[in-house]
Structures are given as C-alpha cells and as structure tokens.
C-alpha cells in the first residue's frame, strides 16, 4: 500500500492505496465521486475525463499514486453554490447531452479545451473533443454547446 495525498475539488484527501489503483477508481470507489464513468479499457472513450492541475486527463490511464501531490477537478467540483459552470449551462441550453454517460467526461474535456483555446473554431472543437465519444448526440449539440460556452466566457 502506498500513501497518497490529493487535492480533489479543492479538498485535501489522503489514503493508503494499492499502487495499481486507477485514479478513476480512487475517485469513484474511495471518494464516492461517481460522475466520471468508465466506458472502455483502451483510453479511447473519454467518459472518465477529469482535470489534473487544470489539464484534462483520462483518469482511467492515470494511477492514483501519480495524482498524489496534485489537484484533481471533477464535474462535482466544477460548479459552486448550485450555479452551473458556463460549460455545464451551455450543455443544458443546447441539449448537448442525452443519456448522460459521456457527459461528465465531455464537460471536463470541454473545460480543458477552452482553457487551452478560449475561442476555438468549430473544427478546433471537433478536434479537441476527438478523444471523447458520444453515442447519443451525433456530436452536433455538444459542438454547439462548447462554441456557445466559449462566447459566453468572453462576454
């Protein structure tokens, strides 16, 4: 067992974990933060995407021990005081989610994308979300939501 200390959604957490424990399982099974989902076993689908020190990562491909000493943000910690984050609000406004399974990962990938490219073109949004799969929306409304969120953040 290895001792880890991780700041999750602004809160300092520590635990003794197996070195092979995945970050996504640490979040889901140890901390009860179950928004991030596991949708594949090849780092292909992005349903588990969270922010690690502000950058989007697939938490199924990060070991919990690698996150020690770092900051993790999940959709649970994205909004404050019951207000949706502009990206979350844009997903609702533009019906960018249906079954919701890819949604927490998609939202975090979008937040990470807009941190890197605040004013993306449609092509940049599509390129930026290529690693996040959705079976319900055909991506149309997800792309609309991210573009709208980008202009919202500007305004």
């Amino acid at each position: 067992m290895t001792h880890i200390e991780v700041t999750v959604n602004g809160e300092k957490r520590s635990a003794e974990v197996e070195p092979r424990l995945l970050l996504v399982h640490y979040l889901r099974d140890h901390l009860g933060l179950r928004a991030a989902n596991v949708g594949c076993d090849t780092t292909s689908c992005g349903a588990c995407t969270v922010l690690l020190d502000g950058k989007s990562v697939k938490s199924c491909t990060v070991l919990a021990v690698q996150a020690s000493g770092h900051e993790v943000t999940t959709t649970e910690g994205l909004s404050a005081d019951g207000e949706l984050h502009p990206v979350q609000a844009a997903f609702r406004q533009h019906h960018g989610l249906q079954c919701g399974f890819c949604t927490p990962g998609m939202v975090m990938a979008a937040v990470g994308l807009l941190a890197e490219i605040p004013h993306p073109t449609e092509a940049q949004v599509r390129e930026g979300l290529e690693g996040n799969l959705c079976r319900c929306t055909g991506y149309h409304n997800i792309v609309q939501a991210v573009l709208a969120a980008a202009s919202e953040v500007t305004a």
Partner: protein, 763 residues
C-alpha cells in the same frame, strides 16, 4: 400560450451535468451492502467442443468466493430461439456454454470474488480444454460444420417461401438491374456497457438492477431464464447510459448474476468491460441483400425483388426476427406495381444479432435506396427525378402496401422536394459537373435517400399498441407521473411533464417522473421502436384529462355547484364557477382529502409511419479514396413535434449513427471467427471529427392515430442517412465507372473500386 411545441430545456440535465447519472454500477443501496463481484470466463475460440474445465487454480486465487460452470447451472433450462414457429427449435443457448462454445465471447464460466480487480485476475486461472472445430462464417454457410448437430443444418429458418418467387416478375421491364449488397454487422456500443446487481430477499423474491429499455419485459425474461414465476422478480431500472435496441429484455449474464446471488445468499454485482461488450452484447444489422429492380427507360419502376440473408450469429435471438420487419418495409415510400421479398436466416460462429437503432427497417431502406440509384444510373437519369416519379402520391387516408403495412399518412414528394431545396441540389449538381469537367482530384458526391418507416407497432399478434400512465397531483402542488416507457436519454421526464402541465396548469419543474420499477409499474412496453411519445406520451395526456374529470366532480361537491358550470383555470390550476372566479378550489386542495390520482391505458389504432428524405454531400479524394462527409441535410416528418429541442436531438443522434454505418463502422472477423474489432481502439466508433454539423429542415404531417398527432422520431435519422451517404460516395466516383461500393464505404473500399475500373489496373 401552449407549452406544447416549444423548446423546453430538460429538467433531467442538472444532475447529469454535476453529480452524474446513477447508472447500475453507481447504485448504492443498503440491500447491496457487501456484494460480491462476478466476472465471466469467455470462449477465445469461435467454434469448439469443450472437453473439460478445470477451476481448481481459480478457486485458490485471492478473494475468490466461487467459480461456476454450465454444469452447476443444470437446473436452468436452455433458451429457445426467437420466433419458435419459424426458427429451428434445436438452436438453443445454455446460460453458460456446455459441451460447445459457438462464438468468441460466449460465457463459459463465472468467477465470483470479493473485489472486482481480483476477479479480473482469477478468470485467467480457469483452464478450459477446447477442441477446435471449423468456424462457420458468412451469408452462405455450408453444412459440413454444424453449430447445432441436432438441427442438421445451419439454416435457422425462412421468412416467406423462396420457391414461390414469381418467375415472371420482371416481364415487360425494359431495364432490369441486379446487385448483391451487404448491410454490414455493427456494434450498438452504448457508452454504458451491460451490468447487473442482484439480491434475494428473505421472502424468496429477487430484486435486480439492470440497465434496460423496458423493465417489464426484462422481468418476464428474467423469470423465464431462472425458471421462476414473474411475481418473484422485481426489476429496478437505474439511469441507463444508452441502449439503441441492444438492452431490451435480459441476457444470459443477467440471469447468471441473479443465480449466483441466490446460490451464495449474498448480493452480487457485474459490470462488463468494453472488450466483453464488443464481443458479447448483441450486434446489429448483418444482412445480405440481393436486389433486382426493373422498369421503363423513362424511369418508371415496375418491379422489385428483395432476397435477404440474415446472419443471426451463433444463437437466433431478435436478429432472426428482423427480416420480418425488413420484408414489411420492402417497397418503402414507392408505388411499385409488383414487389416481393423473402428471407433466409442462418447461424454462424459470431456474436448473436439483436436490435440496433431501426432494427430491420434501415436494412429495407438501404437496399431499396441503392436499388433506385442503380436503376437511375442504368437509365442515365437523375436519381432525385427517379424518386419523384415513383413516390406514392400524398395521402391522408391510410394506404395498404402489398406487404401488409398500413401507412397512416404521408406526403413523400413534399419531403423530397424540401430536402433538395434546402440542400441547394441544382447548385450542388453544377458544382459536381465543374469538378468532373476539370478532372479535380477531389470529386463531389451527392446522395439522396427517401424513406418511410414503421414506429410504435404492437406485438404483431393483433393486439393494438398501447401504453399506460398514472398521474397524481399532490397537496403541496407537486405531481408525479408513472410511465410504462423507459427513457435512457430521450428526455421523457421533461416531455411527459410538458404534456401533463398543458392539461393541469402545474409547472413542468413540479413534476417527478417514475419508470422502470416493476413493483411500482407492473405493466409497460418500454422504449424502443420509436413508440414512446405516440403511446406513452398520449397516455399521460389521457390520464391528465381523466384526472380533471374526477377533480371536476370533487370540485362541484366542494363548491356546491353544478359540475357543468365549472371552468378549469389553468393559470391557477383550479376550478371555479363560471363567471365567479372567487368561487374557486385548486387541485391541491382537492388532493388533500383523497388522493387525486388516475391510471389509464392509451390504445392506438395501429403503428405510425414517419417519412422523409436525406441528402448527403461528400468529397472523395480519387487518389487515396479518402471520403469526407461535408453535409447532411434532412427532412424527417414524424408528425406533430412536442419539443423541437428533443426531436432535433433524436434526429442528430440517428444521423450520426447512420452516417457512421455508411462510411466507418463494421464488426470484422478473421477467417477463424476471431473478432478484430474488440476494443474501441479497433472498432471505428464515430468521433466528432468525422461528421459535420447537420442541417435539419422541418416538416410535420400529423397522424390521426393519437391526439398528439405524433409519430416516432428515435430511429428516423439512422434510416435515411446510411443510404444517403453511401449513395453520395458512389455518386462521387460514378463518372469514373464505379457502379456500387458496399458498406461501409471506407477509404480502402473506395480506392479498391477506383483501381478496379481504371484502364490497365489489376483486376
């Protein structure tokens, strides 16, 4: 102003966007405290005799509680095939394979551990001794290697009689074109894989959480699989992360998890990996079509024949029934004087076939729309003109086809013309002509596909399609709706609340929707076949209206007035005496003394038939075969639209999946039956970079079959887009001599087709 027809945002969303949905793996329930975890050992061979299974090493592994094989499940009867009257009844499946494994991924044993990671390790220690047998693959399997020896054949059955095809069908046709077309096998691949949680109560009843499309059907399946009475099963439906037809009913694994929970006397859980999902959840499509189309040189289609081979996979499940729907929709939106169709169903050493978005109807449309284009190309006519010439004239009285389908209402030419106008069809054709004339490396292709589909059909046994709903108004001003439908992304919580709100004047956000718990809602048809709004939504409207009838009588008593003199004030959600707004009683008050609750069943005269036209525009690099999907323009007429936001979302999703089938996705096996697309790294699941934003035009021809005027919209997108994109790719290279390219029209296939027609190329 009516709330119906407006873009109401989903009330479901805030949860999904913050703490996330509660899917089966997320369910935290006291009854599941201390659950063990189930892992399946799956056959690595497509076809093999199982001579022995040694579980002793696995039993010794850390955390292992039990290891079970088919021999342990001897008390559970095998699963008979679907459509038992037509399909060979020897083709039965054991819940865990006994004696033989028939596809890569078939469950052979189950390992139960304290922790999920331990199960993943311990399954590696189960030693199965397999004697390989020749794999049976393809649409024309020989009978020298049999999946089911007792059946004596790999043909599971027929829909229609191939010996009765009309030898004179094409007599009198100036032009006859014939083509064999593959409608390839694809993976439904919902983002949430299959899962289960199961626990038995002291009363001997099973409670099981399963991601499904209709808890009541899942309950019936579970009872059958476990050989127990339905009253002993309670199915609870958590949030469901997509289904697309593949989560109807219950699968063998769901029953094995319940059996293990009973055997061990403790709760059990299972979540399959994506690898398992891609090889063991049912696949979709997998039909081969031989189309023959005949007509006059001036473009009148006079005869059409569709000969189907359905690869049902290793066990004849819903896949064996799909050709029935394909045959029903053979002639599509066209007025074809003579048409006929037959189907043969075969079994192969591959994953069983089930329903996948459209389930049998996209196959009919894909075959017909390729046939129309082949015919148009043969006579040198514009494919849009040929469609316009042969589409049925507009009708408002139901139209019966030669295949027995009763189309409720339609205006197919209007849909075609609207799609062409929106696309700027004439302009696209002139751009195409310019590129062809200049010999541009990147050629433009324009594909058109018109369709009509069947939605909300009944059980096919004469019972009209129906659904139930319960509406209750509570004293605190909130309201609850119970529905027999089963949303998994469609937005029923919002949509059903809109319908009830319109009647009762209670704000949408005050409603709670409940579904998918069979103790709470014992009856229901679930969500599939694009049935939910037209039947489930209509039931909610009917329940709300009946609730007002009851409330009116109570209000009359309360106000000591004549019921006929009362008017319902929606703004205040209250009854008052006409002309005297002060003599008023709100629904909330009426709910105080006695529960204000109505359950009702809405029955629809028959299925409804949405229709439309899709236009796809592609660019094909003639040197590499690379295809870029530039535009998809659609008209999808599904009657009156309740919430455009939701309806458009359904269309987008369908278009995305249909386009993906057209040029990307395919489940591939090698010659030994090994799946080559068993991960999302290998299966070309469509991503955001491969599709454009879609252009939707509106058209709404109401149905008279329900008071909402609504037809189904869930599958339309996937029905029109596949042939539109396929036709577009063929169209892009047609002037170079290419006549047909099979699905999926990948870069490699396009390149090969171009090589084959180039002078001096290797044939």
């Amino acid at each position: 102003m009516s709330i119906l027809g407006t873009r109401v945002l989903r009330t479901e969303d805030p949860k999904f966007l913050t703490t996330g949905g509660v899917y089966t793996e997320d369910v935290a329930d006291d009854r599941l405290e201390g659950a063990c975890h189930v892992f399946f050992v799956r056959s690595p061979l497509a076809h093999a005799r199982i001579s022995s299974i040694d579980v002793s090493a696995a039993r010794q592994a850390p955390g292992v509680i039990g290891v079970y094989t088919g021999a342990d499940l001897a008390d559970l009867a095998p699963i008979p095939p679907s459509a038992a009257g037509l399909i060979n009844t020897e083709m039965q499946q054991r819940l865990l394979a006994v004696d033989k494994a028939r596809f890569v991924g078939e469950a052979v044993a189950a390992v139960v551990t304290e922790h999920p990671y331990q199960g993943e390790d311990a399954t590696e220690l189960v030693t199965v001794d397999y004697d390989p047998l020749p794999a049976v693959l393809g649409f024309d399997p020989a009978d020298d290697s049999l999946l089911f020896e007792a059946a004596g054949t790999n043909v599971a059955g027929y829909w229609g009689d191939p010996s009765k095809l009309d030898a004179q069908l094409f007599d009198g046709c100036e032009v006859v074109v014939k083509q064999t077309i593959v409608n390839q096998r694809v993976a439904p691949a919902p983002m949430e894989t299959r899962a289960a949680a199961a626990v038995w109560g002291d009363d001997g009843r099973l409670t099981t959480w399963i991601p499904n499309q209709g808890a009541q059907g899942t309950k019936a399946d579970m009872a059958k699989l476990l050989g127990i009475d339905e009253s002993l099963v309670r199915v609870i439906t958590p949030d469901v992360g997509g289904a697309f037809g593949a989560k109807f009913g219950a699968d063998p694994e769901h029953a094995v998890v319940a059996w293990i929970a009973r055997r061990l006397g403790r709760p059990a859980r299972w979540t399959e990996t994506r690898y398992e999902n891609l090889i063991a959840m049912t696949h979709g499509r997998a039909q081969q079509h031989t189309v023959t189309i005949g007509g006059s040189r001036d473009g009148n289609v006079q005869a059409y024949r569709l000969e189907i081979v359905q690869d049902a996979g290793a066990y004849p499940k819903i896949g064996a029934v799909l050709p029935m729907l394909t045959i029903l929709m053979t002639s599509g939106p066209y007025d074809i004087p003579k048409a006929e169709a037959v189907a043969k169903v075969v079994v192969t050493n591959t994953t069983p076939i089930g329903a996948y978005r459209g389930a049998g109807r996209p196959e009919a449309t894909a075959a017909l729309e390729r046939a129309i284009d082949l015919f148009a190309a043969e006579i040198g006519a514009d494919p849009a003109d040929v469609r316009r010439k042969n589409l049925l004239a507009p009708f408002t009285e139901p139209h019966r086809t030669a295949f027995g389908a009763l189309y409720d209402s339609g205006d197919y030419v209007a849909a075609l013309d609207k799609a062409l106008t929106t696309a700027g069809y004439a302009d696209l054709r002139s751009q195409q002509a310019q590129r062809r004339a200049s010999g541009d490396v990147r050629q433009l292709g324009i594909g058109v596909a018109s369709y009509v589909e069947i939605t909300g059909m009944g059980d096919g046994e004469g019972t009209p399609p129906e659904e139930n709903a319960t509406v209750e108004v509570h004293p605190d001003g909130t309201a609850t709706i119970l529905t027999g439908t089963s949303p998994h992304g469609q937005g029923h919580a919002t949509a059903w609340a809109m319908i009830a709100s319109e009647e009762l004047g209670i704000p949408v956000e005050k409603f709670t929707l409940k579904w998918g718990d069979t103790d709470l809602i014992p009856e229901g048809g679930g969500t599939g076949g694009s049935r939910s709004l037209q039947q489930g939504g209509a039931a909610v409207q009917q329940a709300a209206r009946e609730l007002l009838d009851v409330a009116r009588l109570r209000a009359a008593a309360e106000l000591e007035a004549n019921a006929a003199d009362l008017v319902f004030d929606k703004g205040r959600s209250a009854f008052n005496v006409a002309g005297d707004p002060d003599a008023s009683v709100p629904l909330t008050q009426l709910a105080e003394n006695e529960r204000l609750l109505i359950r009702t069943v809405f029955s629809q005269p028959g299925a409804t038939f949405p229709f439309g036209t899709h236009v796809a525009v592609v660019e094909v690099d003639t040197e590499t075969g690379k295809t870029t999907l530039l535009r998809v323009i659609t008209v999808d007429d599904a009657g009156t639209v309740l919430n455009p936001l939701l309806a458009e979302g359904q269309r987008h999703g369908g278009i995305g999946q249909g386009a993906a089938q057209a040029f990307l996705e395919e489940v591939v096996y090698d010659d030994a039956g090994n799946p080559l697309t068993a991960s999302l790294a290998d299966y070309p699941f469509v991503s955001a970079t491969e599709v454009p934003s879609f252009e939707l035009a509106s058209m709404a021809t109401p149905t008279s079959y329900n008071p909402l005027g609504a037809k189904g919209i869930g599958e339309a997108g996937s029905i029109g887009s596949t042939p539109a994109v396929q036709n577009a790719v063929v169209d892009a290279v047609a002037h170079l001599g290419v006549r047909h390219i099979d699905l999926p029209v990948t870069s490699r296939r396009v390149w090969q087709a171009l090589q084959a027609v180039q002078p001096g190329s290797e044939q």
